[in-house]
Symmetry: C2
Amino acid sequence: MKQMSLGLSMRYHGYHVAAWRHPEYRPGCNLDFSSYRAIAQAAEAEKLDMIFFADGLAVRGVDRPEGAMSHDMRNAELEPLTLLAAIAGATRHIGLVATASTTYNEPYHIARKFASIDHISGGRAGWNVVTSWSDQEAQNFNKTANLPREERYARAAEFVDVTKGLWASWEEDAFVRNKETGEFYDPEKVHVLDHEGAFFKVRGPLNSAPTPQGHPVIVQAGASAQGRDIAARHADIVYTVAQTVEEARDFYADLKSRAAELGREEPPLIMPGITLYVGATQAEAQAKFDELQALIDPLAGLNILYNFVGDLSGYPLDGPVPQDLPHSNISIAKGLLQKAKDEDLTIRQLYETVAAGFTGRYMIGTPESIVDDMQLWFETGACDGFNICPPLLPQGMEDLSRFILPELRSRGLFRTDYPGTTLRETLGRKRPVFGAARTLAEA
Amino acid sequence: MKQMSLGLSMRYHGYHVAAWRHPEYRPGCNLDFSSYRAIAQAAEAEKLDMIFFADGLAVRGVDRPEGAMSHDMRNAELEPLTLLAAIAGATRHIGLVATASTTYNEPYHIARKFASIDHISGGRAGWNVVTSWSDQEAQNFNKTANLPREERYARAAEFVDVTKGLWASWEEDAFVRNKETGEFYDPEKVHVLDHEGAFFKVRGPLNSAPTPQGHPVIVQAGASAQGRDIAARHADIVYTVAQTVEEARDFYADLKSRAAELGREEPPLIMPGITLYVGATQAEAQAKFDELQALIDPLAGLNILYNFVGDLSGYPLDGPVPQDLPHSNISIAKGLLQKAKDEDLTIRQLYETVAAGFTGRYMIGTPESIVDDMQLWFETGACDGFNICPPLLPQGMEDLSRFILPELRSRGLFRTDYPGTTLRETLGRKRPVFGAARTLAEA
C-alpha cells in the first residue's frame, strides 16, 4: 500500500505569527541549536521523511507599517545550511532540506555545500530551489531592486542545470586511491562542465565526490508556469500552498503530466503545506487555535499582509480589504485578494487567516477529522504527502506524535520504520544516473 | 605565566602530499565526517585552542604536468563551513576556524554563515579571510582569470569592513521579546549599514542576532603588505609560514607595531604553521619522516610545485631548480625559489621539502628538541603560538597527545583546561565593542 511522505517545517520555531507570545514559547529558542536538534530528533524518532527550513536573505524592515517589524519575530535566525549540517551530525535517518536562493548565490557554492551536507549526513540532503522575491534581499547583494520574474526564473533554470552538471563531475568509481601505483583518481572519470550561458560561466569540476544519494534531492516550491517547468524537469519534491482539494488535484495532474511529457520516469512528489490545530476533541483543538489567534498584534498582522499586498495600515482594520492594490509579483498575493473578496473578509480577518496558516492551509480538528481530510487528499490525486508547518514548536511536533501519526498509522497511511538510510530511499526514489560528459583531457 | 595558543589544521586528513599512501591512512577518510569529528574531539580533550580548515574553490587540474592531479589527494573534500557546523554540534569548547574567500563570496552570506556557526557552537567560530589565488577558482565563478592582487586586496579590505558592519546590526540588548506588549525587538537598537563602496552595495541589517562572541574571531594569513594591513586592522589571529626565527621575529614586530599604530588595544596573535615528525628518539622521528617522504610520487611532487612555480616536468628531477621562471603572484613562491638557490636543491629535493612541511616549517625530533624550538620562538618574540599542520591524521593528533603536549605542559607553556566557553575567552581576548550606527528609522 502506498504511504504518505511527511515533512516538518521548523523555521522560527513555529509558523504562527504570534507563536513567540505563547506562554509555552521559550524566548530565544529560535536561535538555539539544541532546541532545533531536539525537535529534529523527535521527528526522526517518528520516522518523518524530512525536516525543512525555509529561508530569506534580509530583514524586511523598510517601508513597512511603522513599528510593524519590531512586532514580528521573523528577523534574526540561524542560517539554514549551517543549521542543517549541525543537525546532520546529531541524527541518522531523517532527511534534511533547506532553501537556497538562485538569485543571490553562485552554483559552485550551492552544489558544493549541499554535496557536503549529503556526505556529512550519509545521504540525507535536499535543496529547496527558490528565486527570492523581495527588494530588501536585492539591496543586501549589490542591487537596488529584485530581478524581474522572467529573468529570475531564467537564471534559476540555468542555475539548476549548472548545479546538476557540477554534481556529475566525478563518476561513482573515479576515486581508485591506489596506494601502490600512487593513482588517487582515474583521470578518465572526472569531467569538466565548461558551462557558458546567459547568467553563468562555470568550468568545474566540483571539488567534491559523488554523494551518498548520487546527488542531493531537489525540492521546488514555485507555482508559476516557470516554477512548474523547473519542478517538472528537476524536482524530486514540490511544495505547494493549495487551499482546496480541487485546486490541489488540478496542480497535481498538471505537474505530473508535465513531468511525463519530459520523459521523467519518476515524477516529483507533491506535498502541500498544512498547519494543524489538533486536540482530543474539537473544542480542545479550537481552544488551541483561539489562544494563538488572540495573541496576534495588529502591527504583526499588518506586517505579514505587507509581504503580499503592501501597506494596509491606512485602512480600518475592521473594514474591507481594498482590491485596487498594486498588482503583486507573487502568486500567493492573488490568491489572498481573491479569498478576501470571495469570503468578504476584513483586513483583520485576512491577516488572522494568513497568520493561522502562513499562506498554506490550516485545519482545526480531532485526529480523526484531520486524518480523514489528509486521506482524502492523498487518495484522490491531490498530493503524495504533506509538508507540516506547525503553529508552534516543539508543541506541534508533540501533537503529531500524540494525535496525528497514530491515526495515520492505524489506517496504514504512514510508515513505522525507515526503509533505508538515504532521503532518496525514504522517498522511494531511484538513485540518479549521470549522463556522459567530457573528461578534463578532452576539454 | 603567558601560555601558547595551539591550533590543529585538519584539511585532507594530513598535510603531507603522500599521507594517503601511508599504510595507516584509511581510504576515503577525507570525506568522512565521523573521522573529522573524532579528531576534533581528541583535540578538544587536549584543550587545543582551535581546529582549522583551509579551503579552495576549485579542482586545480588544468595545464598541470600530465597526470599530476590524478596522483594528488587534494581534489575532493567536504565544504568547510558545513563541516565546522557539524563539528560544532559534537564539541563544546574547541574553537572552529575555516577559510572563506573574499574574492568569490558576498559579505552578507559570509557574515551570516559565520554568525550562525557562532550561535550553534556557543561562541567558537572564526573566519580565516583569504583572497584566493588561482585562475581555476575564477573559472568556476564567471571569470576567466583571477583578479590582480591590488584589486583582490582592495576587495578583501572592503569585504571585511562590510562583514563587521553587518555583525553590528543589532545591539546586544535589541531583542526584548516582550510577550505582554508584543514588542519583539527595540527598533532603536537595530541598525542599517547602507554601505556603498567600490565593490559592494549592502544595506543590511543582518538577519542574525549578536553572537556569543559579539562577533566571530577573524583570522588572516597573507604576508604581503596589503595582507598585513588587513591583519593589523582586523585580525585576532595571523597565520604565517615563517621558516626562520629571525624572519618570524621581524614579521611579529612589524605586525604588532602596525596594530599599535592603528590604536588597537589587543594586537593580533601570531601563529606560524609547523609540521611535526616526532618520536621518542630522534631515530624514531626520522623513520616516520623517511617513511612518508619515500611515498612521494614524482607526479604528485611536481604537482605541488606547480602551484607555486609552474610546470617543471620538462626539467630533470635530479637537476637544479631553474631560476628564470615567470614571476609568481604569491610570496611563498619567491621564498621557495630563494631556498632552492641558497641550498642548491634539485627539483626532487625542493618538492620533498615542500611536501614535508606544506610551505610551512617542519621539524623532525624528540619532544624535548621540538619543544625547545617552540619555546625559543614563543619566548623571543617570534610567535604567540603555533598552527600545527600534521603530516597525517589522526596519527599527528596522537603524537601531540603522547609527545608534545606533556612536554609543553611540564614547562608550563600550555594550558591544562579551557578558561571559559568561547574561542575569544580561550584566546584571552576581549569581547568587541560595537560603535554607534544609524537606526532603520534614521536611514
